[in-house]
């Protein structure tokens, strides 16, 4: 069934749209969770502990996300390479009217996000690049728990880490700007009122998500958050 989907360009695009929608929902949840850093150590550590306590359910969600990411990447890489062969020669002067910087940089933005996500997981989730992060503990209501707050503050104090984060999240903003409106169109939801409206909503959504995420490393570096650490 999946291979039948991947053989067709239209069905591949539908896979990209559905997995894209799942990833959009994830990014909304992840952003809201991360913003808890502004409420102090207890808020974000309680949230992190809550996620950990989901146990098997957390792994089901993670498994689903990994599957969605893989399908999203495989389908888009195949489509991008296919599309390149369909237009072997471009014009000497290009006269784009409606396509945007966002829509023309989906592949490069997507790949940047992919490399960032791999680093991000090695950095904060798996503790490969900074094993000391995994040993950080704090006392939360009498219980010794992983100190996610200190990990975020220490992590983002490194200007290189924050710089890469800001760059990748900017690309995420570009990707969402075209991706969100695009997924609705691919799934057949379109019309003279809806299509221009969702284009505007996509842009606002991309700016809000991008702004919220980028504000975190900036606030950490300016010591607005975690100034005592």
């Amino acid at each position: 069934m999946l291979s039948n989907f991947l053989k067709s360009t239209i069905l591949s695009k539908i896979l990209v749209a559905v997995t894209g929608l799942l990833l959009v929902l994830f990014i909304v949840g992840h952003t809201l969770g991360n913003l808890l850093v502004y409420l102090g150590p207890n808020a974000i550590n309680t949230y992190a502990l809550g996620l950990k306590k989901l146990g098997a359910l957390l792994w089901v969600v993670r498994g689903g996300l990994i599957f969605a990411v893989l399908i999203h990447i495989i389908a888009t890489i195949r489509l991008t390479l296919y599309n390149k062969t369909a237009k072997p020669i471009n014009y000497t002067v290009t006269g784009y009217i409606t396509s945007t910087f966002s829509s023309r940089t989906m592949a490069i933005a997507g790949l940047t996000i992919l490399f960032f996500v791999i680093y991000h997981l090695l950095h904060f989730t798996l503790g490969v690049t900074n094993p000391e992060f995994m040993k950080l503990e704090t006392n939360l209501h009498g219980e010794n728990v992983h100190d996610v707050f200190t990990m975020m503050i220490t992590g983002f104090r490194n200007p290189l880490v924050s710089g890469f984060y800001i760059l990748a999240v900017s690309f995420l903003g570009l990707h969402l700007n075209h991706g969100v409106k695009s997924l609705f169109h691919t799934l057949g939801i379109a019309g003279p009122i809806f299509t221009p409206m969702i284009a505007k909503i996509s842009t606002v959504f991309a700016i809000v998500i991008c702004g919220a995420l980028i504000s975190i490393p900036i606030s950490v570096m300016l010591r607005i958050v975690g100034g005592a650490i």
Binding site: S8, L11, N83, P88, V93, G95, I97, T98
Partner: protein, 250 residues
Amino acid sequence: MKLKLNIWRQKNAKTDGKMTSYQLNHVEEDMSFLEMLDILNEDLILKGDDPVAFDHDCREGICGACSMTINGTPHGPEKETTTCQLHMRKFKDGQTINIEPFRAKAFPVIKDLVVDRNAFDRIMQKGGYISVRTGQAQDANNIPISKKNADLAMDAAACIGCGACVAACPNGAAMLFVSAKVNQFALLPQGQIERKERVIGMVNQMEAEGFGACTNHFECEAACPKSISVKFIAKLNTEYLKATLTKNSF
């Protein structure tokens, strides 16, 4: 007006082409774009040079024959206008105009600005028709069709099959063309019998011809001389998905 033209010259399908510059010093602003090229060709013939080959037929904006990309935009800068209906008053005196053939792998160049658009005919052969007998003229009115669907089908049927959508698409996709042809039938009762076979057949042929996939740039709609809406592409996606999922062999 005076114009500098950079035109793609290519002897035949097998040779490489290149942009060649020409100077025109006596262009009237009331000329159509094709008449301007006719003047250039008369000059070239008088000089013993090979005239620039370009497709044209009705010169009334309805046949879809004229096909060239002017300064990166298929059919040129004027919205909802074919090249034959584009007039030189839309350009400035002293302007440089780049004229290239429609670019896509599925539209190979035959000579200069002429491309082979037979791929569209082969797509049409896979379902761009109905086999039901529709009777005489008065019989058409005996089948009730909602105003909404009748209007939408007419909007889709406005496609003249010129290929500007493919030429404008950064992916060389023919989704706007195929979506218009599929939907003009899918929206009407006469098109229901072959509905599934039509969408599957036409989309599969579109892919076999090497047209790209849609990434929702919407350049096709902007370039379309008949302003076919991209909403038909959205409808084609669901039409194809439904047909594929309910097909026995899937």
